[in-house]
């Protein structure tokens, strides 16, 4: 890349990206620990390795823009502004959780931040994203709806129905595929006849591009450009973010379907290490400053665990609340 970071973004923004990625990583690693202790139960899908996507994309959007995600949603919610304490409490199933302990890891939701949910049926969020975009358009709210999804979901019917619909009705949806190469254990070329995923949108006349999902700056730039394109033209756009999850699909997956050499290659491209190297090389931050950031993030995560531990369980009567208005 020819540009230096300073030419692209302010020091504050760059440091902010770094801090958000570290916070997400530390949060996820803490979740793994809490899961092994039995404090977090059920399904737990961690985002470690993919941080550049959530952080870069969110920065490229406006706060009024809607964000939807699949079930690997902790980082998406936190980067959007959800309080890590409430997210951790939700994972613990506590009454103080983001969704009162009723959603859990896969169903985070923060409408005041325009974070419109984590959905756990693969591909279930596509039609909802289209509907949110339509609703926002009808109400003249000038929002872009950013719909995140994994590579595996592109083989669901809803993907095709929703892309067709979004282009047919010309709705402001930014589709962002987080291609981490595996739908649980099935590698992308074993599930998709066209493994170059971004090329699959041509049948719906939706422009697309492939972006390095391990590079937060690239993700930010691509999203900002795409989001403004979508906003201006009121038409859908598609980004394939090429990324990698460092852990298995969920906590119960030892990821034996991929080699350690493959994982090592991707870990050498760790988005956090990548950015820190550039920050240091360009003299934007010192190692001390980066260490301080890590310490601060660790403290926030520890605080969120403490908050979750000390929080009360939901009352029994809560079972019957929120089914109907």
């Amino acid at each position: 890349m020819a540009d230096t970071l300073r030419e692209l973004l302010s020091e504050e923004e760059l440091i902010g990206f770094y801090e958000q990625m570290v916070l997400c990583r530390e949060f996820e690693e803490s979740c793994a620990e809490q899961y092994s202790k039995g404090h977090i139960t059920g399904f737990l899908h961690l985002y470690s390795g993919q941080e550049a996507v959530a952080v870069g994309c969110t920065a490229g959007l406006q706060q009024k823009d809607y964000i939807l995600s699949a079930y690997r949603d902790h980082a998406q919610a936190i980067v959007r502004g959800a309080d890590p304490k409430k997210v951790m409490a939700e994972l613990f199933g506590k009454a103080t959780g983001l969704c009162k302990g009723k959603g859990g890891s896969m169903h985070l939701f923060a409408p005041q931040l325009n974070f419109m949910g984590g959905y756990a049926i693969v591909g279930g969020q596509f039609p909802i994203a289209v509907g949110l975009a339509w609703g926002g358009q009808l109400l003249e709210e000038d929002r872009v709806t950013a719909c995140f999804f994994g590579d595996g979901s592109m083989n669901q019917g809803t993907f095709h129905e929703s892309l067709n619909w979004a282009r047919l009705w010309d709705l402001p949806v930014l589709f962002i595929c987080e291609n981490n190469f595996y739908g649980i254990g099935t590698e992308v070329h074993r599930a998709s006849a066209q493994a170059a995923l971004h090329r699959r949108t041509c049948g719906y006349d939706i422009p697309s591009e492939k972006v390095d999902g391990m590079d937060v700056i690239a993700m930010y730039q691509a999203t900002k450009r795409a989001a403004e394109w979508v906003r201006e033209r009121q038409r859908p756009y598609f980004i394939e973010a090429v990324t990698y999850r460092f852990r298995g699909h969920s906590m119960s997956d030892p990821a034996k379907y991929r080699s350690s050499s493959e994982t090592d290659v991707w870990k050498s491209r760790d988005p956090i290490i990548n950015l820190s190297r550039r920050l240091l090389e360009e003299g934007i931050a010192t190692q001390e400053r980066l260490d301080e950031i890590t310490k601060r993030c660790l403290a926030r995560v520890e605080e969120s665990v403490r908050f979750a531990e000390e929080s009360p369980w939901p009352e029994d009567a809560e079972v019957w609340e929120d089914i109907y208005v």
Partner: protein, 328 residues
């Protein structure tokens, strides 16, 4: 009051609510330009324009999901699925999304949407276009289910559905579209959810129906009256919530009950209602609760045998006679 068809009553409800509230929108397959496969949406496109009345692709799962998203965004969509049979393609969005988002997100959102679905059997449309799937929808918490029998209820219930902040499955019977009845003209005429209607009073047998089955029950009661048998006919009007209070009060009075369901008998709603009657009226029952149900078969095409599969007035009449002769 004015006399109109069930079809026109639904059409009028849509028009009134769209005039009243600019956030009410409607869409579906062939809803706008073609004015609906059953012509229920006649005149909507010309009055409200193509932003609020839209045709969409044949993508049932996405039809429902788009409504979920639009409702979360703050508009009030009324989506039409061309027939209830196609709702099976949309069960993921109906059951996993529409009925769940409020609860799993801790009550932080509402989903004020309606899905209209014509359905029911009796038009010789074969196994894939003649189903009665009301029990499927009743089974799932998180959504309301309406199934009007009369033009007045069709209008009043649809208006209530559109104004309700909960998601609503609105079932319409294809064979009732041309049926006529008196309908209030008051634009504030609403029929509340969870209130069954006593269509006719009686003291020997309680007949419980919904949708077209309520109409058949009423016709059976009129026939039985000539034989000196007094039936009380209850139209449930909404299946979720279910107004068991009205049913139980009636059965306590009559001591005998029959549930008429168009759906298949196995795991059909009649079994659920019967069990609730046993729980609530065990001491006062004079005979076991009877069910007249759709046969547990895929619907055949030929009219000679199709009618064997759907409850008929004669079957209800004979069932009531048997019920009264039941040794206690």
């Amino acid at each position: 009051m004015s006399e109109m068809t069930y079809r026109d009553a639904i059409n009028q409800a849509l028009k009134e609510e769209m005039r009243r509230d600019k956030t009410v929108v409607t869409y579906g397959e062939d809803v706008a330009l073609y004015e609906g496969a059953f012509k229920v949406t006649r005149g909507l496109l010309s009055e409200f324009g193509e932003l609020r009345v839209r045709d969409c692709p044949i993508s049932e799962n996405t039809i429902v999901g788009v409504a979920v998203g639009a409702a979360m965004a703050g508009v009030r969509p009324v989506a039409e699925l061309m027939t209830v049979n196609f709702a099976l393609l949309a069960m993921d969005q109906i059951v996993n999304h529409m009925a769940k988002v409020r609860y799993m997100f801790g009550g932080q959102t509402t989903v004020p949407m309606v899905i209209r679905m014509p359905g029911g059997g009796g038009s010789q449309l074969g196994a894939q276009h003649s189903q009665s799937l009301e029990s499927y929808f009743m089974h799932c918490p998180g959504m309301l289910v309406a199934y009007p029998a009369t033009p007045a209820d069709a209008k009043g219930l649809l208006k209530s559905s559109i104004r309700d902040d909960n998601p609503v499955i609105f079932l319409e019977h294809e064979l009732l579209y041309n049926s006529k009845g008196e309908v209030p003209e008051d634009p504030e005429f609403l029929v509340p959810f969870g209130q069954a209607a006593v269509m006719t009073e009686g003291d020997q047998v309680t007949l419980v129906g919904y949708g077209r089955m309520a109409i058949l029950a009423l016709q059976a009661a009129q026939q039985l009256e000539k034989e000196g048998v007094s039936c009380e006919v209850i139209d449930l009007r909404t299946l979720a919530p279910l107004d068991m209070d009205t049913v139980l009060a009636s059965v306590k009075k009559t001591g005998r009950a029959m549930v008429i369901e168009e759906c298949w008998k196995s795991a059909g709603l009649g079994g659920d209602i019967a069990s609730r009657i046993y729980e609530g009226c065990f001491d006062t029952l004079l005979a076991p609760v009877r069910r007249v149900s759709g046969l547990d078969v895929p619907m055949p095409y030929s009219r000679k045998i199709e009618k064997l599969c759907i409850p008929q007035v004669d079957g209800i009449v004979q069932g009531v006679r048997d019920l009264l002769n039941e040794p206690y």
